[in-house]
């Protein structure tokens, strides 16, 4: 029905390619160091702090921010909100690449990455929450791959296989939402086993619920946020329907995000109240907690509502950005800042620059793959030969 406009020339030595290329080269060098020298060669991890930036950012934040896949799929396929249809493929692509990068980061973080399949094929440890996380992430990655593959198959012109996969959409979506609920909440459940190490303002027996609810908000916000970035970089690839419904997506998702953030704020307050931790708010950690709650949960919730009321997509985009920051803040707080809070300052952890370097490298690889796919496959537009499929 619609076709993309005239494609923009993308030269080989574009600013993006140069920067991304540099990062990737540095990343490859850091990878060499990591796999020849062990974890100690590139990280500040030690026996008191065994999980660091890679787990805190790449795993925890990565999984939360890739939640746009299941939230959009839920909205479009299960709740039948067809007007968000244009956002579905980009969200699924982000989800797929996001989870793939999580797995890549894990290859760096675990001591023997070639043994990652062991829990599932050789020696399961089902008493572990991590087992649950691993199994669900693995299955969900397969689901995302299957949901992404129609885009690739359209690009390759494979009709039959594509039709089979498209028929499975609803099934995959429901499976995906179930798996996402499980592993998003399980990432929070990972920390249930350490009440003596996690600051009481963040520790709660409701951690799984907190993680799940905030992942919904994260997903909705990331779709808005990435839509904003995509418009800047790939507007030429977007078809009429996409451009037309962009603002509707922003407004719709903004409204939903407001509700979810409000609920999240409420249950966090309940968490503090039920454990009677009010006094802790008057400490330095309490200040940090308040900053996270007021500045990055309550504030974006409020901004979302105002934006929706005033039909102001720009405000909603800012709110989405704040929410994304808030999720990153929350996950890093739980994993790095409020964790081991009782240790003396000398024993606390701060990431080595090489750890951050590898994380940037992994993210860049993901962004590069995204760029590659988006400029070639029907993500922002409908392929003319397959328009009946939607």
């Amino acid at each position: 029905m619609s076709e993309p406009g005239t494609s923009v020339e993308r030269p080989l030595l574009s600013p993006f390619n140069i920067i991304a290329g540099t990062i990737i080269l540095v990343g490859l060098w850091l990878s060499y160091l990591r796999f020849t020298g062990g974890l100690g060669a590139v990280t500040n991890l030690d026996n008191n702090n065994a999980w660091g930036f890679w787990i805190g950012f790449d795993l925890l934040c990565g999984v939360a921010l890739a939640a746009g896949g299941y939230t959009t799929a839920a909205a479009v396929e299960v709740f039948g909100m067809k007007k968000f249809h244009a956002a579905l493929r980009p969200a699924l692509l982000t989800g797929f690449l996001g989870y793939s990068m999580v797995v890549v980061a894990l290859l760096y973080d675990v001591g023997r990455p070639w043994r990652l399949p062991y829990p599932f094929v050789l020696s399961p440890g089902p008493t572990s929450v991590l087992f649950e996380v691993g199994a669900c992430v693995m299955l969900y990655l397969i689901v995302l791959f299957l949901e992404f593959s129609p885009m690739a198959l359209e690009w390759l012109g494979e009709r039959k296989l594509r039709r089979v996969l498209v028929r499975m959409t609803l099934l995959l979506t429901i499976f995906g939402i179930t798996l996402s609920t499980l592993h998003q909440s399980s990432l929070g459940a990972l920390f249930l086993i350490v009440p003596s190490k996690l600051h009481p303002l963040w520790y709660s027996s409701y951690l799984p619920v907190f993680f799940f609810v905030s992942s919904v908000a994260a997903g909705l916000s990331m779709v808005i946020f990435e839509g904003t970035l995509a418009r800047r970089g790939f507007a030429d690839k977007m078809d009429e329907e996409h451009k037309r419904t962009a603002d509707a997506v922003v407004l719709g998702f903004g409204k939903a995000a407001a509700f979810v953030l409000a609920a999240y704020f409420a249950i966090k307050v309940f968490g503090v109240a039920l454990d009677d931790n009010w006094r802790l708010l008057a400490t330095n950690y309490g200040l940090w907690f308040l900053l996270e709650m007021l500045g990055f949960v309550l504030l974006p919730c409020f901004l979302f509502l105002v934006g929706v009321r005033d039909l102001n997509p720009t405000l909603i985009r800012w709110a989405a950005f704040l929410t994304v920051l808030g999720i990153v803040l929350n996950r890093l707080s739980i994993c790095l800042i409020a964790f081991n809070w009782q240790l003396p300052q000398a024993d606390r952890y701060f990431p080595h620059w090489m750890e951050i370097g590898i994380s940037v490298f992994v993210v860049t690889v993901g962004v590069t793959a995204y760029r590659f796919i988006v400029t070639r496959m029907p993500v922002f537009y409908e392929h003319p030969d397959f328009s009946e499929g939607h």
Binding site: L299, N312, L315
Partner: protein
């Protein structure tokens, strides 16, 4: 299109920045709660008086006031004023210990310390304090001198500047004697009894007792609490001694709180070594037994007790007699009474963890370094099965009346030499004992056996009490040669302590543990400096020697 977009971006920017600012403001509001207290350190004072005892913190509108009494006493002295500046006098001349009023007894909420519980809305009392305190401060301020606080929060401080360092105070023998001397041995200057019939205080010779015998923690009907009585009596007399009291300088009669209640000041009080005995008609020597009523049922021999010797080693009568100077068995009957709070005679004499009982106090003596080497190892919680007759050496209760007059002192009971007894000659004790049963990485240990026995014997003989209790033959050996027959050739350690393993059932260490715990434990308890390390007892073997003897196990 562009204009509208620009306007909405600006709007968005405005909203965001306003909201961020608001968030930061709220956060900084909470920051006040978490900045570290730059408040000054609290200084300790021994003279703090609190005005609102008993009011629960929930009901107070303002925090309690910490009143530094000595500070005000000093000011009063400078102004050549008298205590009556704040404390009115009773009709009989006694000072009231309440502020600007006679006592609160009888008033609603008046309690033992004579300070009335101040209730919210108790305007009468509150005004009394406010008008007088602030009034006086104001007057001083008006003269231009440095004055006390005037604003509410300067007295009712949220973060009080002082910490109470008040130590409880009591008499010991030395201080009591100094007062006896000053009063010319007139006990009636302080001691009194209450005559129920005449409803007045009288003096009865021979009935003098500790103040706490009557004056309890709380004020009762017409009997002041101990705290009140003590201050009335002591400070009252220090202020205005009765004419018959021979005192020296004023400085000897302290009236400041710190002079009695500050730890340093307490340590600085002049002490008289070995003051003359307190004269209360007590005997030098007595035979301790159950009370007359219980004598029939008690078949245990009486205990010869040298009261004069015990007076010498205690700081005051109260160490044993806690409150009353009556005989122990008056309250501590065989079954115990309400007055003794159920503590029966056996417990009163044999309880382990208190200085009031014979056994408990003697146990404390055993913690001295000369004794602790052996005694630290012995089980604390149990009375030794043998040795009752060491104390219960007197006549049987049924013969008590008849025999009492025969015994005048402990010497009538001490038979034989009061020193360590051995069933063999000291020279027969081996000079060194080579302990090589476990020798492996180290050479055998050469223990200076005779020197140890000589030293322990010396310590025991130097102390007549210790010598008496160690008079049994070969008792001194049992510090190390425990739970086995003693004599010239006691069993070796390895007879009972297996070389390989501790015995969990019988709760006995193995040989290695037995050696080290016995030796090192004793050295530690006796605070011995040598030996400093392993080779002090047993020299290290060379590698080759270890290999030759079969290697490390």
């Amino acid at each position: 299109m562009r204009k509208a977009e620009a306007r909405s971006t600006m709007q968005a920017g405005h909203w965001t920045s306003i909201a961020l600012l608001g968030t930061l403001l709220i956060c900084s509001f909470f920051m006040g709660g978490c900045t570290p207290d730059a408040a000054a350190e609290q200084t300790g004072r021994a003279d703090l008086v609190a005005f609102v005892d008993g009011v629960s913190l929930d009901h107070q509108e303002r925090p309690s006031v910490q009143f530094p009494h000595d500070l005000h006493t000093e000011v009063m002295k400078e102004r050549k004023e008298d205590c009556s500046l704040c404390h009115p006098a009773h009709p009989d001349g006694r000072l009231s210990f309440s502020y600007q009023r006679l006592d609160d007894r009888g008033k609603e909420g008046g309690d033992s310390t004579n300070v009335r519980v101040v209730n919210i809305g108790d305007d009468e009392i509150i005004d009394l304090y406010h008008d007088n305190c602030i009034g006086c401060h104001q007057e001083t301020a008006d003269t231009g001198a440095a004055a006390g606080p005037l604003a509410c929060g300067d007295c009712h401080r949220r973060r009080p500047p002082y910490l109470s360092s008040r130590e409880p105070f009591g008499f010991d023998k030395s201080l009591h004697y100094r007062h006896v001397k000053a009063a010319g041995e007139k006990c009636e200057a302080c001691h009194h009894e209450y005559d129920e019939a005449k409803k007045e205080l009288v003096y009865e010779k021979g009935k003098e007792s500790s103040c706490r015998d009557c004056h309890r923690e709380e004020t009762e009907e017409n009997r002041s609490a101990f705290k009140l009585a003590a201050h009335e009596a002591c400070i009252g007399c220090h202020r205005e001694p009765a004419p018959e009291i021979k005192t020296e300088a004023d400085s000897v009669r302290p009236q400041l709180c710190v002079k009695c209640h500050d730890l340093q000041q307490q340590l600085a009080i002049e002490t008289i070594e070995d003051p003359p005995r307190l004269k209360r008609g007590q005997g030098d020597f007595m035979l301790l037994s159950a009370s007359k009523a219980d004598l029939e049922s008690s078949k245990l021999r009486t205990v010869p007790f040298s009261h004069v010797d015990h007076e010498r080693v205690t700081t005051s009568c109260r160490v044993c007699h806690h409150d009353t100077l009556e005989s122990c068995s008056e309250c501590h009957t065989l079954q115990g009474t309400e007055k003794s709070e159920g503590v029966n005679l056996f417990r009163a004499m044999h309880a382990k963890m208190t200085d009031h009982s014979c056994v408990g106090c003697h146990d404390t003596e055993k913690t001295a370094p000369e004794c602790a080497g052996c005694h630290d190892q012995l089980e604390q919680a149990r009375l030794p099965e043998e040795g009752c007759e060491l104390c219960h050496a007197g006549p049987l209760p049924e013969l008590l009346e008849r025999e009492r007059s025969r015994y005048r002192s402990l010497d009538d009971f001490r038979a034989g030499p009061s020193e360590v007894a051995l069933s063999f000659a000291l020279d027969d004790v081996p000079e060194t004992v080579e302990i090589g049963a476990l020798s492996n990485e180290y050479e055998p240990a050469k223990m200076p056996h005779r020197k140890i026995v000589e030293k322990l014997t010396q310590y025991i003989n130097e102390n007549s009490t210790a010598a008496y209790f160690h008079g049994h033959e070969d008792v001194v050996c049992q510090g190390c040669h425990h739970q086995s027959p003693v004599g010239e050739k006691p069993p070796l350690c390895k007879s009972c302590h297996g070389a390989d393993s501790p015995d969990l059932e019988l709760m006995k260490p193995g040989l290695r543990g037995a050696y080290h715990r016995q030796c090192l434990g004793c050295h530690q308890s006796m605070d011995l400096q040598k030996p400093k390390d392993c080779s002090g007892c047993h020299a290290e073997k060379e590698e080759a020697q270890i290999a030759a003897s079969g290697g490390i196990r």
